[in-house]
Amino acid sequence: MFLINCPYCGERDQSEFVSGGEAHIARPKQPTELNDDQWAEYLFMRKNIKGIQFERWNHAHGCRKWFNVARDTSNDKIEKIYKMGEQPPKL
């Protein structure tokens, strides 16, 4: 239960957004060359951090654009919002 400052629309209630989970998990460039362990790592394993986590959000009931959020999962405080393709900020 918190507000998210969409970089395109401004501050809105969290219920307008959909969480896309952990950010910066790149799809493997050569999927055929991955072994089972590497596939499991990409598909299933998650950091699930208690503290500042970098994650993707989508403004599903608004502009429908994706962006990145650095959020403290221990208190839901948003530290930084940055666009897709940008590197995670140093916090």
């Binding site: 969290q14 598909l43 699930n48 208690k50």
Partner: protein
Amino acid sequence: MKNKYSIFSLIKNAFSNHENWQRAWRDPEPKKEYDAVIVGGGGHGLATAYYLAKKHNLTNIAVVEKGWIGGGNTGRNTTIIRSNYLWDASAGLYDHALKIWEGLSQELNYNVMFSQRGVMNLAHNLQDVRDLKRRTHANRLNGIDAVWLETDEVKKFCPIINTSQDIRYPVLGGTLQKRAGTARHDAVAWGYARGADEMGVDIIQNCEVKGIKRNGDAVEGLETTKGFIKTKKIGVVAAGHSSVIANMAGLKLPLESKPLQALVSEPVKPIIDTVVMSNAVHAYVSQSDKGELVIGAGTDSYVSYTQKGSFNIVEETLKAILELYPIFSRMKMLRQWGGIVDICPDASPIISKTSIKGLYFNCGWGTGGFKATPGSGDLFAHTIANDEPHKLNAAFNINRFVSGDLVDEHGAAAVAH
């Protein structure tokens, strides 16, 4: 030796104003070394310690708990117990637990108020009807009691449900497991704690794990707020905080921790004598022995460790409750709370060894761990004591996410556990 709880001990203690009851468990300081340490003093952790001592003669063990026992998800769930899961592996696991529930109060000499009042799952669309019918057939092939109810039978079983076909999501039928029901969740933790303590298990509260010490590929002990504890076997049963503990050992788990909410109403006279769950509209309700309606809501979509949830989730659930039970329209809700649930991609638990010797995880129960408490403890104790899984939890190993042999209950058993 613990005094036995009975009608006679109740009468005897009434004469001394109930001031001389024996302590249910000690409050010891940690020893320097244990044969095994369980991290997490919830129902699953305490049950694990109880069965390690009882069935495997491991009594030099401890349970370390960050807060107080049963203060996490054990005391926050909606107390529903059932075993009508679709897949064979899940059916084996959950029915093993249900069978232990049936004799648990006697075994522990502690009234866990297990009440087999039945659990009914409603179908609201054609796909629900097909899925639930398929599940009843699968259950019966696995020897689990299950019946399909047509809409009029649903109405007969629980008369306060609105079975009008004019509502947004009409009731098209349902399944019923009569052996399912509820239990008093606190009593489960307290009963197991008392039983484990009697066999010599140290239950150490207010003791947070800060680190796991490794020597190469094996564990050596735990750094805690009450000092270093040496041990060769660590069983982690930390629910929402499983990933946090795993990170201390340099492991990554396929889990996401999310808030799950529940709420209770003001107490009223008996009105609903069963448990009714509806996955499609996400509403489930039962009535506690105190008379409160116990209502379970859904999880939030994002990772959070705050033990709160969003109002819009509660609103969705109450909307569905009101459409299905118009009689509750003037009920006041008394309390609302959240717990952090650790969810696996396939919505099945992990009861498993890890790549680190002596480190075991029991996690990923997601939104439905309470029902499995006795079975989970029993099987996890077996896994720790023998360094090998029992055949009932072999399928729930961590390696299934590498091999692809998932136990996919997400779309199968029920969204709401």
